[in-house]
């Protein structure tokens, strides 16, 4: 193949030379739309690969802001993002715009919830998992089953990661393998740690599956649930193509319990392993952070950024987003966090 320097595809020339993609595949990538849920360790690696590969539209969804403890592995963030408390979706979008202006990147600073999941995940052709907990994956899985949209799973802790591709009803769904979230939320990066290299490997496997899906190489998609432990030099792969569970609540019985969970009220959730509670008010709202700040100034040390307001008071750190979401760090007491919400933010 001859690729001229003035060729609009030149930046993708090495990928086009690869037989699995070619110019046809590259055009499909350009026309494709994907969503990345969670823009932390896995999500930044995923978003970086997708942007460089020339995926046309990428929606980055993340509820959190950059902290120093992220920098060891969350490859799109730098010290100034942490100092300025930039929301992760925004920081990632801003970095990636400089990498590839041809890609449309939408940053959504929000928590993926039963309320917004269908709006955010059904206008894309594949969903990539950069999340950090089981509950949100079961929610993604409900959307995937209900709307027949494939998703790529990845998860990491310590030096170990797992990965699988799900496209129910052709494949089992996540819930076939794993009906309920574990008690206490299981192990997370915040409780047992994680090293960067396993993040890169699992996220790269996720992106590879997405590239295969987008270019139409469905016959090359992995059919195994893979488990890699870099520290122990161990590798497991279980073929899950026959693991569909006829009694699976989601893909067997059509009950979307995570998507249909309580709506119409504020949702409080303990952010596992972080000693923090998140309160998400019901419905859309836009707070005037300046007005809130005027009240908060009397309460303790307050910092304001274009996206959020932060109050440090009596060992707690309250971070309020413009959409009304509050993260209370320093407690896992939901009732206490809800009282603070009522008192400091209001209904």
């Amino acid at each position: 193949m001859n690729i001229r320097l003035s060729d609009p595809w030149e930046r993708y020339s090495r990928q086009i030379l690869f037989h699995g993609i070619g110019l046809e595949g590259q055009k499909k990538l350009k026309a494709s739309r994907v969503a990345v849920v969670g823009v932390g360790a896995l999500g930044t690696v995923i978003a970086n690969h997708l942007t460089r590969a020339g995926v046309g539209f990428i929606r980055l969804i993340d509820r959190d802001f950059v902290e120093r403890s992220n920098l060891q592995r969350q490859m799109l963030f730098d010290e100034s993002d942490a100092d300025r408390l930039v929301p992760k979706a925004i920081a990632a979008r801003d970095k990636l715009r400089a990498v590839n202006r041809e890609v449309e990147i939408e940053a959504v600073v929000d928590h993926l919830s039963a309320e917004n999941a269908e709006a955010l995940l059904t206008d894309v052709e594949i969903i990539l998992d950069g999340t950090d907990n089981f509950a949100v994956r079961l929610l993604i899985n409900d959307v995937s089953v209900k709307h027949r949209i494939p998703w790529v799973h990845g998860a990491v802790v310590r030096a170990r990661g797992i990965h699988a591709f799900f496209h129910p009803p052709k494949t089992p769904c996540y819930r076939c393998l794993f009906p309920q979230p574990p008690e206490g939320g299981g192990e997370t990066c915040d409780t047992v740690g994680v090293i960067g290299p396993i993040v890169d490997i699992i996220a790269s496997m996720e992106v590879t599956a997405a590239l295969k899906w987008i270019v139409g190489a469905a016959d090359r998609l992995p059919t195994s649930l893979v488990d890699i432990d870099l520290w122990e030099n161990a590798h497991a792969a279980i073929d899950i193509s026959g693991a569909k569970n006829a009694n699976c609540p989601a893909c067997g019985l059509g009950r979307y319990e995570f998507l249909d969970e309580r709506r119409g009220e504020a949702i409080s959730s303990v952010l596992c392993g972080r000693n923090a509670v998140q309160i998400t008010p019901y419905g859309r709202r836009t707070l005037d952070l300046h007005a809130v700040r005027a009240r908060w100034n009397a309460l303790g040390h307050v910092r304001e950024s274009p996206h959020l307001l932060r109050l440090e008071q009596e060992g707690l750190t309250l971070t309020l987003f413009r959409d009304g979401r509050l993260i209370v760090q320093g407690t896992d007491d939901v009732a206490h966090a809800e009282r603070l919400y009522a008192e400091y933010v209001g209904r």
Binding site: A155, L177, C189, D227, A234, I238
Partner: protein, 66 residues
């Protein structure tokens, strides 16, 4: 008993069943998926799946981080 677990040879003393192996690795009570000589073992069968030397196990332990 010598077993091939996730591609590595392990000598596990006093192990007879899949449940024993999970206990050895402190995976009992965790969410796991187990394949024994190429077939997925149902959770209800962990305690009654009796292993023989050199059996091949693949164990995936679900994790949540990311």
């Amino acid at each position: 008993m010598e077993l091939l677990i996730n591609g590595k040879r392990h000598e596990l003393p006093g192990v007879e069943t899949v449940s024993d192996v999970l206990r050895h690795f402190r995976l009992d009570g965790q969410i796991v998926m187990v394949e024994w000589n190429g077939a997925i073992v149902s959770k209800d069968d962990y305690a009654r799946t009796v292993l023989r030397p050199n059996d091949k196990l693949e164990i995936v332990h679900f994790v949540g981080g990311g």
